[in-house]
Symmetry: C2
Subunit: 391 residues, 2 copies
């Protein structure tokens, strides 16, 4: 038993003994040929996840090849290459400064080279780069490679809602799951305790324990003492919540900006959680209701997102200043975008196509406030559930 | 149709039309003899609820007797009686200053007189006064009177967990439901929008619509444009959440005080919600899982409580100062108590009796930190779900 496994067993402690949801008798089998892992992406969240993964690949040498490749979009930092800085000083000085990275994490500027002979790819790049990356990877990835997408959310087009993990599967022909949770990157990088959810559906061509990626392998790859992982099957559930939480956060920003206090913000989150669940059940009937209220990627990520972050800030400023969303975004986010502003429009258009706008009064109210200048003080009326009038 | 019902119909607006959960065709029947309502209690929350109730009794004269009695524990305020101040100046200057009360709300210092010929009693007094109040009321309340308890939570004794609503039923022989939600009293009194949950189980001796209290009558009694009410059956569910949320809030205070950030607080809330649901299923199998994540008294009240309040503050100070719970409580709360400190002990003792401590690792960790000085930085290990080790 490795030192890491030893430590994992130790941390389970006496308090966990006999817990119903724990199953400490389940064992992690050594891989016939240790899995080689590559992380694609090296921004704030990408580098953080690469750190987590590299720590575990070093800790479980029977399961993972110790060296973890991280594809880095090469940049010049004061005359030095970013990859060289990462590989010699073990810091991503541009996107994750002051955090020491494990020395088995190797930055590679060559995308195709970084996935050579790989078994597991972790995608962690900004949403808008995904099509280009997938295009470049085509023909260089074996169909038995498995993937996890850390990209949030889904795309809504004329034909409906597509999960980003499904996009990766379609483009590259590989099985792809997702990782999502209440994870502000900097807090995870600093090893402040948090939780996350990994969702992965075992494919039909699964080659057997020790030969292929299963839930235990994924737990070993991502779980750390400071980063607790729950592995489930429901890829759709966690992806839906990852996208729609931003719309709910706009609603929280409005009521905060109006000075309505904690009761109102909690009410928006409650209504929002209900609409997220309804959206999942309507468009991804395979998603499980429990995912939304039991998993970090569900209710916990919703709470973190609604406690602060870009969407709340933009909406709050809209309420206090009377300016429109785009002015507020420009003023606050320095060229970045509040994802909820885009998502609420995509969702509105899709729901209109389906004739289901009225089933999602909060999403619709947020859309109307952002795009049609609907008075935000009417929000309560817009989402009210009325079921009485006198005869 | 009254003006109030007119307004209610208006506010439903076009956005609500066709909503699945709304049922605007359901009508509120005029009562054969309008229901007389009394509120027992006149503290901060008691006076706020009395204001809500009095507004609705005035608005629906076909359903409720316009005059609402509020029993007030008489006090002398600079030589004037508190009841006289309320009845002449329409303010509860001591417990809810600067809020104008409706003139149909009548303060009464005589408990027995306040419930004369009453149909509906709303209990809203501090927990510790309940036995004495019930004792005084015995023999003065007809068995057909219906009650709603706004008191939070439950009592844990050697024989298990008893809901406060059940205590009222046992003591007075009357059917009793509960009201609970994400409701900071001052925000409700100021008519900032919030939501609440009313739970009431229709009794076997129900005398028929228009003659007895049903869900529509309760909605009319409590729902306001600024106070949205959902009426359900699950009294146990909302009461359990109302008590256990305070234990979860202590956990949030610990991780906040340790400087672990938003991820950690959201994780505690997620784990806490799961344990609240498990507690409900174990000891009140009639309670519904949906109550905890769909209702204001569930997830929303949990979020509001964990965003601030007494329990968070005490636990945060414990973390930052190293002082014990009782010192922190004394320092911060000016003689009031952080309910979670009592509840976590009662719950621990009850779970030990049942041999179920290990099913509730967060509740147990909070108890051990408060009562046995267990190091709070071990919290993540104490609640970790581990399900792997290498062969």
């Amino acid at each position: 038993m490795s030192a890491a496994a030893d430590r994992l067993n130790l941390t389970s402690g006496h308090l966990n003994a006999g817990r119903k949801r724990s199953s400490s008798s389940v064992s992690l089998r050594a891989a016939e040929k240790p899995f080689k892992v590559t992380v694609i992406g090296s921004g704030n969240w990408g580098t953080t996840i690469a750190k987590v993964v590299a720590e575990n690949c070093k800790g479980y040498p029977e399961v993972f090849a110790p060296e973890v490749q991280m594809w880095v979009f090469e940049e010049d930092i004061n005359g030095e290459k970013l990859t060289e800085i990462i590989n010699t000083r073990h810091q991503n000085v541009k996107y994750l400064p002051n955090i020491t990275l494990p020395d088995n994490l190797v930055a590679n500027p060559d995308l195709i080279d970084s996935v050579k002979d790989v078994d597991i790819i972790v995608f962690n790049i900004p949403h808008q780069f995904l099509p280009r990356i997938c295009n470049q990877l085509k023909g260089h990835v074996d169909r038995h490679v498995r993937a996890i997408s850390c990209l949030k959310g889904f795309e809504v087009g004329a034909n409906g809602v597509q999960l980003l993990s499904s996009y990766i599967t379609e483009e590259l022909g590989i099985q792809c799951g997702a990782l999502s949770g209440a994870n502000i990157a900097t807090e995870v990088a600093q090893e402040h305790w948090s939780e996350t959810t990994v969702a992965y559906h075992i494919p039909k061509d699964f080659r057997g324990e020790g030969k292929d990626v299963d839930h235990k392998v994924l737990k070993a790859l991502f779980h750390r003492p400071y980063f607790h992982v729950s592995v489930i099957e429901d890829v759709a559930g966690i992806s839906i919540c990852g996208a729609l939480k931003n719309v709910v956060a706009l609603g929280c920003g409005f009521v905060e900006g109006l000075g309505w206090g904690n009761n109102a913000s909690a009410a928006i989150q409650r209504v929002g959680l209900g609409e997220i669940i309804r959206f999942g059940q309507m468009f991804f009937p395979e998603s499980r209701e429990e995912t939304y209220y039991q998993e970090s990627a569900g209710v916990a990520d919703l709470i973190t997102t609604c406690a602060g972050g870009r969407n709340v800030k933009v909406a709050r400023l809209m309420a206090t200043s009377g300016k429109d969303a785009w002015e507020c975004e420009k003023e606050l986010l320095n060229g970045q975008s509040a994802q909820g502003l885009i998502t609420c429009k995509e969702v509105h258009e899709w729901l209109e196509t389906c004739g289901s706008v009225e089933d999602f009064p909060l999403f619709e109210a947020v859309y109307q406030i952002v795009y049609n200048n609907y008075p935000m003080k009417n929000l309560p009326d817009m989402i009210e559930e009325l079921d009485l009038h006198e005869d």
